[in-house]
Symmetry: C2
Amino acid sequence: MTESKLKAAITPARTEDFPEWYQQVVRAADLAENSEVRGCMVIKAWGYGIWENIQHQLDLMIKATGHKNVYFPLFIPLSYFQKEAAHVAGFAKECAVVTHHRLEIGDHGELRPAPSAELAEPLVVRPTSETIIGSAFARWVQSYRDLPILINQWANVVRWEMRPRLFLRTSEFLWQEGHTAHETKQEAIEEAVEMLEVYATFARNHLALPVYHGEKTESERFPGAVQTLCIEAMVQDRKAIQAGTSHFLGQNFAQSSGIRYVSRKGIEEYAWTTSWGVSTRLIGALIMTHADDDGMILPPRIAPAHVVILPITPKEETRSAVLEAAATLKDKIAAHRYADESIRVELDQRDIAGGAKNWEWIRRGVPVRIEIGPRDLSAGTVALSRRDQPVKEKIFMPSAEIVDQLPVILGEIQRNLYDRAKELRDSNTVRIDSKQDFYDFFTPKNNEKPEIHGGFALAHWSGNPDVETQIKEELKVTIRCIPFDQEIRDDRPDRCVISGEPSPRRVLFAKSY
Amino acid sequence: MTESKLKAAITPARTEDFPEWYQQVVRAADLAENSEVRGCMVIKAWGYGIWENIQHQLDLMIKATGHKNVYFPLFIPLSYFQKEAAHVAGFAKECAVVTHHRLEIGDHGELRPAPSAELAEPLVVRPTSETIIGSAFARWVQSYRDLPILINQWANVVRWEMRPRLFLRTSEFLWQEGHTAHETKQEAIEEAVEMLEVYATFARNHLALPVYHGEKTESERFPGAVQTLCIEAMVQDRKAIQAGTSHFLGQNFAQSSGIRYVSRKGIEEYAWTTSWGVSTRLIGALIMTHADDDGMILPPRIAPAHVVILPITPKEETRSAVLEAAATLKDKIAAHRYADESIRVELDQRDIAGGAKNWEWIRRGVPVRIEIGPRDLSAGTVALSRRDQPVKEKIFMPSAEIVDQLPVILGEIQRNLYDRAKELRDSNTVRIDSKQDFYDFFTPKNNEKPEIHGGFALAHWSGNPDVETQIKEELKVTIRCIPFDQEIRDDRPDRCVISGEPSPRRVLFAKSY
């Protein structure tokens, strides 16, 4: 089970076939697999462990900004979608619809939906919960004293996918959706911006994802929103992935759901609402950003295990001493903390070949591997490998030092992954000022693989949606956002890179997931 | 907004109309409400906070026994239910069935399931996941080396309810479902027993629910199980509520799903599986066990807030000093720990009348209320009220002492709630040895309210299912379990209390939720 130093664990390499490499990493790292239900995935323990850390850490931030968790029904009456016209147009095409509430044995012994149990009104499996939460807000709010309402839920949602891909596009996915109602427009806008900042901070500091943040153009807006704010990351094939969105919904949903309140002036008014969410898609973004040709590389903060200890027991006579030393080391490490959490350490005592075991943990992307064998025991050392460094590289350290060093090393790995991703992004983000350059940038040089090309283009745009249609059709490029950052936006009037129309600032163009 | 000392917060009282009292407590404590979707509830922040604590604390216990969390699809193909005959018979009648994957605008502008998007095979919204998890186990298991598999998931499930009641019986509910596969029958039985013990420990120590544990009779078994183990609690109307179940599934699901492995002897064999779960129903059990005529009473360990601080600010000139002292006290309390967690403390600064505010927290059942006003400030004291004591009772304590005393007080409340519930149960658990006594015990004395009667009857039963049918029809009584505890079971042969047939031991009879 030994593997050559030259052969990587994942075939094909990123540069050969990025989409296939992605699928192979998901498989090799044991993160998830397709189920027999089209578009629905099984999230395995290692993948779900990442989601649990995302949930726990982001949940603390959501609560620290004053929100409380709740739970709303999975099913939404069909008529609710009809209330908000723009919303229904955006979602109507891709919903799972429940039409029966009972099964029965049919004439040929087969199980079937009981015709006598057809629902009077079909129920839609929630694709998002604005409508049903809006109707609750309408019940809960009478006066300005009842505002703001600041809630969040962690839930599963369903949007039927014809071309599913694990984590990136699945018919069912897991997410959190925050929903708030406010007295004033200003307060609701501030809420939407604040939550986008929470996402940006979380992406940078926890997921090691450098992100640009900004506002979506009208054509990319959430159905029913007045403003959609987003964070956008660049993955290793230089495409963009949206890593979180926050919507200022104006009074649209308040009007369709009837969220009215008596204001401080004694006048009945509509509330102002927001919603915001991130999903298991973030795990897809993590993989495409950090993984390499040997498998997953996990940012320590969200790794299900920070450290794995691999005891090496070649001879029976030293076996118990090695296992004992490994167990002692495990307890010592677990008593230490990194990033406000106990260090998560696993001891892999499985009776399989050491090489195979080591490679399994490499593919899974555990940040630190520690080998301890009979020779280390006598020398008082251990061999430490960092997943952000070449897989064969080992650092020999006195075992007395390693425990204190681990939080430092984990912090270095976290920062290193961020820096690498930022370096890739920055070196592939360019200002483009001519249509020819724009088309060249987003056109593969030839029809051969590797097809990795392009990146983020900061270019002028007038605001004309026809330009968006044109570049989407011709290049599969979209405007990812109008950046918040003035320096990136470059607020000097110029001409749209495509149409030549007057433009106030640059926007961020890219191909995307 | 002041309320008389004599009038309780909840109408009707428990003794007047227990079912209606229950609904009023749910409402008054702001735990949950019905949604417009029949049988589906909205779990509000205070109710969901209880569930979050249950999740977090039980999850630690599930992980400490070697299980990892995963996530399986919400949808299960209809054909999966056909595989396991006993299973389908048990669940087939109450499922939500997805038949379409798209909506469209119909001829009259109405939204409808698109006829062109009818699914070839309907999908069932999971009522439980044995079948789909079994099919994954079949993929994952080849050899005895792949066993055991020990997984759990936290998820929503749907079982259509015609007579829903908040938390107790809802069409959608939240739960955890553990699923394991083992090499031997013995190991699987031990797993099922171990997880029941985890539930019993959790119920007693965290939820303050005294429980009997034992095995269900064949007629009460989970569809497809060989043995169903359960814990049963008694609530205040003396009925039983099942608070958790653990199933030894034998090789039934292994055979229907094809979970085969090559054994140590090189022979292909079927694995042995288990499953076990608890749900948001536990919150219903908590309410019916601990709440009183003033609203909810929460066991401290699972209370969303352990303590609320209520500043009393009658005069403008002392207002800021009181608020400052309250904020300082909050920080001091939050830095202390109770039951391995930071003390959860809220400071309620809302500008509403003090009496109304105090009653709101009484109804919500927060374990400890601390009032702090101008007089307390000069006296260096605070007034503490415990929810397990009469609502008007206050303990005046030096504010310097309260912080150190709180963990002790919370521990006392936790123990007190358990002791009360145990006292109620024990005083209403009787050994019955004649059919007449049995019928008397379970028959209301007259047709008037209060209808609270009966309790737990420990009586002999031969094993004849006809007896179960008879008492269910005539008295609405079922066998809750065959207790594990020999002393309770009373292992001396006698005669069935109903049929007179020979019986090896007593079983536990009760009316139930």
